[in-house]
């Protein structure tokens, strides 16, 4: 049953519309003298909150070791399938001698043309290795440039000390006789 909306009968002046038009013109005229609220973007910057979700980036710890262990949970959870990881063996350098972790990403790609900035990758990461940064200025001349690779992701992510330390637990000397 269609709903019938009763409309008020307009009186003569309202029917003319001219007063309404004049009122509208007056309103827009007044509006011309109000200050503009535009943000002059390249010169002025918006306030970025701490919980802003910008481009995801990979982080290293304070000693410059990569935290990612290439578990691919972010790749799994990523709704638009923007993340592609090529897992590999962690490099056998001195930084990893006391590591529990044998796995590290060989390649890590995030397609920023696909990313929807949902932050699931940060949320699911068991190693706290991926974070939504406050980086919001993404531009490139080619599509390929917007597929962030490992160096770019570490550049965006930077360093985050503390948090999970996958290297720590062998340092207390126990169980050494097994080696």
């Amino acid at each position: 049953m269609a709903k019938v909306v009763e409309r008020r009968k307009l009186n003569f002046w309202e029917e003319l519309y001219l007063p309404a038009i004049a009122e509208g013109l007056g309103r827009t005229f007044k509006q011309m003298f109000k200050p503009e609220i535009t943000l002059q973007y390249p010169e002025q910057r918006p306030v970025i909150e701490d919980d802003y979700r910008g481009a995801p980036g990979l982080v290293k710890d304070e000693e410059g070791r990569e935290k990612c262990v290439s578990c691919q949970l972010c790749e799994y959870i990523c709704p638009p399938k923007a993340i592609v990881i090529v897992p590999g063996e962690a490099p056998e350098d001195t930084a990893y001698d006391y590591s529990n972790i044998e796995k590290a990403p060989k390649e890590f790609y995030i397609d920023m043309l696909r990313c929807i900035y949902c932050g699931y990758c940060e949320e699911i990461c068991p190693e706290q290795a991926i974070f939504m940064t406050r980086e919001y200025e993404l531009n490139a001349a080619t599509r390929q440039e917007l597929v962030h690779d490992k160096p770019r992701l570490y550049e965006i992510g930077g360093t985050r000390p503390g948090l999970i330390k996958k290297w720590k637990h062998k340092d207390d000397g126990r169980g050494a006789e097994d080696h």
Binding site: Y76, G88, E89, N100, E102, H169, D172, G175, D178
Partner: protein, 486 residues
Amino acid sequence: MIKLTIDGQEVEVEPGTTILEAARTLGTEVPHYCYHQDIGIDGNCRICLVEVNGNTDKLTISCKQPCGEGMDVKTESDAVVKARKGVMEFLLINHPLDCTICDQAGECPLQDYSYHYGSGDSRFVEQKRNKRKKVEFSDKVVFDGERCILCTRCTRFFEEVRDCRPIGVENMGGKSTITLGPNGPIEDPYQLNIVDICPVGALTSQDFRFKQRIWFMDFAETVCPGCAKGCNITAGAYQGKLLRFVPRRNPDVNKSWMCDDGRLSYDDYNITERTRGAKVAGADASFEEALAKIGELVGDGSGVAVLASTSDTCEELHAIRTWAGKVGVTHLWHGAETWEGDDFLKEEDATPNTAGAQRLGFTPVPTEAPSLRGLVVAGDCPVPPALLADLDFLVLQAPVAGELGEAAMVLLPGLTRVEKKGTWVNCLGHAQKVQPALEPGPGVREDWELWRDLAGEDWTTLKAVTRAMEAASGSSSDTPLVASES
């Protein structure tokens, strides 16, 4: 026969059957780590505890306890659930829980049982024990001592199935761990099976190590294309690339095993360059043109032979045979490929369907081959050079043409062994279903469709070919050509 009750259900089993196997016949899966169907019973992991005849003080390990007449078994009673929870907690005390980087994750009974039977929580606050990690048992197998739960499936596999002892348990109590024997790295050609039977991620394959998480992969239940044994396998692929073969249990053929050579042969089928689209005399042509050209070349079939690959499925071979019969080609030969066999599973015949080809009337190439006008090569197989002499024309249908492709008058694309769908008959006479593990991509038609079009038959589905083949060759239970539906 022995009658007993499991979870209120009556079941009748052969004498000597264990409770675990009896429960399995009812569809009840009792959790187990150390027990494996195809190796001897050990009974060390204690996760398979069940309550027998209401005795809650002393639970019984179902993997080793044979069924007794009138037993009343409970697999989910309070006592059992509590005991399992306890066992799970003990197993996980020293397990590193590094599932995030463990290749076993996703197909790990420790994960599954922890999820189903564990408490989901740990009361253990002490330091976990550190053991050796990343120990290379050979260039195929890596061992991680921390993940190991010491079920000894691996050592028992070598002792009981392979009759050798390359690895064993060293030390006692909390320090016990699997270790290499004094003779150095494992050399057994079936050693990768211990990776499959390891219920945790302690033993992992060097080849598959860190390649891909299994939940990203696509799996096909198929048959190993490596040799005539036809071991049942699950082929795992990721984005159109095969990453591994893993044996699938078939008690009649391969039990739970397969040879390392067959297992690692998967990479041979990741071909990058292949024949796409048809070619006539080196120039691109439509399939219709190519097939018409074949008809024209073969003519009445005199002096023409068909050399079919023994990796072709029975359905493909039947289509080829039908066509040959129609145009009057009488020489139906099959190719042959060999590699080194052994006395366990690996056969010398390195093609999966020789038995099927022979059942369909294909014969080996005679030593004294008659002089030929033309040769039709169907499928991927080596062509004896003697056959190629004095040929008027060569028709080649193969996934990769190679050098022969340049000599071929008509070149047709084909499927590799892992892309085929149909039936292979192994050397034991079992007809087994083959499922495609990869997609061939554009410009490639199913082999059986090509030969069907050539033969002018109206089979629209593979099933129609199967039925036609059955009708034409009288497939019997003794010499089956069609895999049973089970």
